[in-house]
């Protein structure tokens, strides 16, 4: 058969016995959604997912698979008929390729025989291939303990041969864990929070609070860029941009300076709850990390979290900044987050914000804002940016 064949190993999906079919579907959809113009077939045979595509598309497919949640590892495989001579021929070709790529000279052959009708045992096949490789390439040496590379052979309905595999991101396939609404700012934390929930299979939508002219177009473009980065991991993500200036103005008008940040956060929670209802999202996701800033203390989160009846997931709550940055660098959002447009004006960032707010007092201040009509109006201004 022509083209490139990928053999995909999945992890936790295998544990979900009864739901496995659905999980596999999510996995396939998640791969297909990011390769709309690529002809590919994805199918499953005996707990192995195979993906076949044209050779020209292989590089693009590789980059998507490396970012597909649910995948533990994947590799390019070559198939052969159930015939030892054919298997040997392909093993030699693969060995030549690995040698040319400078992958090393110590190897071992690992054989699994699921198709017991095959006339040789796994051990016999491994010995036969080991001899053939060493005979053809004098520089090769069998090393079963510390090989440079492993040639794997699976004997099933056909024979599949493959070398070292590429690691996937683990986790669960997109969509298998419901839908969440991510409060996305231009900062370092929120994209990471969204990614971490997506890793657990959550389909993510994002909401960005735009406050023109107090925040710049560049700040908004930056958030759009971050959404596109996330879309590489979690297909289907759409950015919902809400024009929040009237809410901001109301807060600035009626609130004490030190309460501004917290009241704004509470309004965002409340608004996100309204938007989530529209989108069918079952939870809110934020990038809060305990104690990082004034609005992220236990008291502050108690207050802001009380303005939504949805569960609020804060996957970074126990992480240090360094740990968060490490993830941001891995998922390629750090550089964008670090661009200097986060100008959510000094005007709305009090010099001495409340750190340990009194919830009852804050609730009174929130009520004084009489902000619900403004939030409902803001809901009508939402612009949807699809990645």
């Amino acid at each position: 058969m022509s083209g490139t064949l990928f053999l995909i190993k999945y992890g936790e999906i295998a544990l979900k016995k009864r739901n496995r079919g659905a999980f596999i579907r999510y996995l396939k959809d998640s791969i297909r959604a990011r390769l709309p113009r690529v002809q590919l077939s994805v199918y499953e045979i005996f707990h192995r997912v195979f993906l076949r595509c044209a050779e020209a598309d292989a590089a693009q497919v590789t980059s998507v698979l490396a970012r597909t949640f649910g995948i533990v590892s994947f590799c390019e495989a070559v198939e052969a008929g159930l015939d030892i001579a054919a298997i040997e021929k392909i093993a030699l070709a693969l060995a030549a390729r690995y040698l040319a790529a400078g992958m090393g000279t110590r190897f071992k052959a690992e054989v699994r025989r699921a198709e017991k009708a095959f006339p040789m045992t796994s051990y016999e096949i491994a010995c036969r291939l080991g001899d053939a490789l060493c005979g053809n390439f004098p520089e090769l040496k069998v090393d079963v303990h510390t090989p440079d590379w492993v040639l794997s052979v699976e004997i099933r309905e056909r024979a599949y041969l493959y070398g070292p595999s590429t690691g996937g991101p683990y986790g669960l396939p997109t969509g298998s864990s419901g839908r969440g609404l991510l409060l996305l700012s231009g900062g370092i934390d929120s994209p990471v929070a969204g990614w971490m929930m997506a890793k657990r299979g959550m389909a993510i939508h994002a909401v960005y609070f735009h406050s023109a002219p107090f925040t710049s177009e560049q700040a908004r473009e930056k958030v759009e860029t971050l959404t596109r980065r996330l879309a590489g991991w979690t297909p289907g993500i759409a950015l919902h941009v809400v024009h929040f200036t009237p809410v901001l103005a109301r807060i600035k008008e009626r609130a004490l300076a030190e309460e501004i940040t917290l009241l704004l956060r509470a309004c965002m929670m409340r608004f996100a709850t309204l938007l989530a209802a529209r989108l069918g999202s079952m939870c809110l996701v934020t990038g809060e990390s305990l104690g990082q800033v004034a609005s992220q203390t236990v008291e502050s989160m108690h207050f802001t979290g009380s303005y939504t009846d949805l569960p609020v997931f804060r996957p970074l709550v126990g992480m240090n900044k360094e740990e968060i940055i490490a993830v941001a660098q891995r998922i390629n959002t750090f550089e964008t987050s670090n661009l200097p447009f986060a100008d959510c004006c000094v005007l709305f960032a009090p010099e001495h914000p409340l750190i340990h707010p009194d919830k009852r007092k804050m609730d009174l201040s929130f009520r004084k804002l009489d902000v619900e009509p403004l939030l409902l109006q803001a809901l009508e201004t939402v612009e949807i940016v699809r990645s």
Binding site: A212, P213, F214, S216, E217, T245, L248, A249, K252, E253, R254, A255, L256, A257, D343, C345, V346, L347
Partner: protein
């Protein structure tokens, strides 16, 4: 929002001017016809050399100086830094040692003077920075007080790029010359005239400066061309060494299309300067009157008069609505179809953005609210009226938000 997104009113001429049609045409024509290297010995090279000489003569005539006193550069920044960097060469000439070399300049200079002068401190060249008075003008006496035995150069800009304040260069020259005569030591007097060229009338001879910097794209020539006036017999020694072009001051194959466009733009602008100035004065009168009607408006400096204040360029106005940050005003204007800038457009460094207003005594919170509106010869009074209307309509609600209610 901008009712007509295709039409924007450009009020950022001090950052860069729209091309002067004659200059654009000249650049195209010269690029096509005089492509040869002016240093080449063949006929094509010779004709390029002749075209270069003609442009230099035209430029010199416009400035009222000798052709040999004009060095073409890549722009204002290169003209400025070139003059300052020439000080690094002094030790080679057996002049004053570096340890005894001082530049006197001001806190309101363009970054290419201010930052470069501070940078030279790392090379053993001292620097005295004179602050302006609250009205944005540097007093000649303050320059006089800063002069010391080791002073070898004084650099003061002619028109400030953020406030439009016109500096008394002739007065400064008198004080510098007198000090110089008393000490029997030469002091090079340089002025950055980028925002003055073809904007206000001046005479290099009457101001008695030794060097002056000019930029092409501020007067409708393309980017990448500028000039440096170096008074005959007073030229400092430049650091770059190459093919000897521009009398060795600025080696590199001459940017002939740029040079021709520059001299053309300059001549065209100067020919129209009296009418253009009258129009600019009418524009600035409308602008200042209209903006001052907005609650909380703060014209920088407050001392600037509404009418034709002789101490300010009629092409530049600095105004703010504290505590509304400058970038919010700029975005609001932009959304309504007006291009203005926050402070100096060319300063990308954050800390440098508020240097000029802060040097005039403004607190940092107010300084970062200042925007610059700069006009040009094709700015019409109705453009100014439309801008003022927009500002009177859009700024008060934002300023109210920024002030808060509690």
């Amino acid at each position: 929002m901008n009712p007509n997104p295709d039409r924007t009113t450009y009020l950022d001429w001090a950052a860069s001017a729209p091309p002067e049609p004659a200059a654009l045409e000249e650049a195209r024509e010269v690029s096509a016809r005089y492509f040869a290297n002016p240093s080449s010995p063949h006929r094509a090279g010779k004709s390029a050399e002749d075209r270069l000489a003609a442009a230099r003569a035209q430029c010199a005539a416009s400035l009222g100086v000798e052709p040999k006193e004009i060095v073409f550069t890549s722009g204002g920044t290169e003209s400025n830094t070139g003059v300052l960097l020439s000080l690094l060469d002094r030790h080679r000439l057996g002049g004053v040692e570096r340890q005894k070399t001082r530049i006197v300049t001001t806190a309101i200079e363009h970054a290419s003077i201010y930052e470069q002068a501070l940078g030279l401190q790392g090379h053993g060249i001292a620097c005295s920075v004179v602050r302006p008075k609250p009205d944005g003008r540097v007093s000649p006496d303050a320059i006089g007080e800063a002069l010391q035995d080791d002073t070898v150069m004084v650099s003061v800009m002619l028109v400030n790029n953020e406030t439009g304040a016109i500096q008394d260069i002739a007065g400064i020259a008198r004080i510098v010359r007198e000090f110089s005569a008393r000490k029997g030591r030469r002091i090079l007097l340089h002025t950055d005239a980028v925002q003055a060229l073809a904007k206000i009338p001046f005479s290099l001879r009457a101001m008695d400066v030794d060097a002056a910097s000019f930029s092409g794209h501020k007067i409708g020539a393309p980017r990448g061309i500028g000039a440096l006036y170096l008074k005959a017999g007073h030229a400092p020694s430049f650091l770059s060494i190459g093919g000897g072009q521009e009398a060795g001051h600025r080696p590199g194959t001459e940017n002939l299309p740029g040079i021709a466009a520059f001299s053309t733009a300059l001549a065209a602008r100067l020919a129209r300067l009296p009418e253009d100035t009258a129009a600019a004065q009418e524009n600035v009168r409308r602008l200042l009157e209209g903006l001052r009607l907005i609650r909380g408006a703060w014209v920088l400096p407050l001392a600037r008069q509404d009418g034709n204040d002789p101490h300010f360029s009629p092409w530049i106005v600095s105004v703010g609505f504290p505590p509304l940050p400058a970038e919010v005003v700029v975005r609001t204007a932009d959304a309504a179809g007006f291009s203005i800038s926050s402070g100096a457009a060319c300063s990308t460094k954050k800390k440098d953005r508020t240097r000029v207003p802060e040097s005039m005594g403004l607190p940092e919170e107010t300084a970062r609210c200042m925007v610059r509106i700069s006009t040009g010869p094709s700015t019409r009074p109705e453009d100014i009226d439309a801008f003022v209307d927009m500002m009177q309509r859009d700024i008060p609600p934002l300023a109210a938000i920024s002030r808060g209610g509690t």
